[in-house]
Symmetry: C2
Subunit: 202 residues, 2 copies
Amino acid sequence: VPIPTIKFYLREGLLPPGELTAPNQADYGDEHVHRLRLVRVMLEVGRLPLAAVRDVLAAVADEAVPLHDLLAVAHRALALRTVSDAPPDATAVREIDLLLRDLDWEVASESPARREVAVALAALRRLGWKVDAETLRPYALAADALAGREVEYVGATASRAESVERLVVGTVVFESVLAAFRRLAEERHSALRYTRAAGNLH
Amino acid sequence: VPIPTIKFYLREGLLPPGELTAPNQADYGDEHVHRLRLVRVMLEVGRLPLAAVRDVLAAVADEAVPLHDLLAVAHRALALRTVSDAPPDATAVREIDLLLRDLDWEVASESPARREVAVALAALRRLGWKVDAETLRPYALAADALAGREVEYVGATASRAESVERLVVGTVVFESVLAAFRRLAEERHSALRYTRAAGNLH
């Protein structure tokens, strides 16, 4: 990591200062290096805004924050990047409520992702797509299988610090992994269907 | 949609001008309205940068662009928003190549999503996570099942214009739908595991 980047993170409060060893020299230990990597994952892989990274780090540092609330902080940070600020359509919101109830998913009514799905559903309808909650169900079920493993992995460690990191890093990084694999899979299915020379793409 | 927003889209070249009916009045037909909705989906749901929306619209308008290439244009637009500009780690890139070969997925070597997965894998390793291509495989398989349906839906119409729209809108909107459901599913599994009062969250 270039020095100006580290100085920038220090100025932005994303990294604690190192131990001064001389007026113009500071020493950074293993913990600093790890924190630096955590910051970079959130910025470079998660593409979170700086303020969102600060919020997540503050929640990570506060041992009084329960894991479930920490997940909400990480989700709010991710939502800043992607969730529409368009007003949700009341019919679509109701349909998503019903789908979530039918799936028997317990999620808070204020979760931004709930609104995001409703906004997507309403936007598709305005474009004339014949979609309803059933169109969305396969996405919910695929996501559920992955999320079940993730939460299990978060809990499969004795140390709170490790659980916290698994939770924050996992939710941020695997969101981008899943989106990237979906694009790759779309590309491969499209190649199979639309290109004659699919065998020559390597 | 507020008038200043429409004027902004016109200035930015995202909407063609309406038919002038008076010096200060223009008439917009059904096609304009539909185009406006398309632009809004890409901006509001897809959160694409303006320049990316312009690129996608130009490719949509050009009937010489094959569907498979149009998908690449849409993916590049999505990648602008999320793909890291960090240099990919050569070992991770090689592992993803091997995974894709093992999955028998034909994807172009320059696809940005390929790099995105490698960047994520390398970042997790630097944080000390014991991950390899096998950790990623469930994400690839889940994405593959969804993408297979999507490409089938794109092809299940006789009109090229309709296929084009299904392709562009589908890849953009369902990326956000999938990410949103994953967050909701994480929340529900976390509630089951970490909150005592999971039954009171409604």
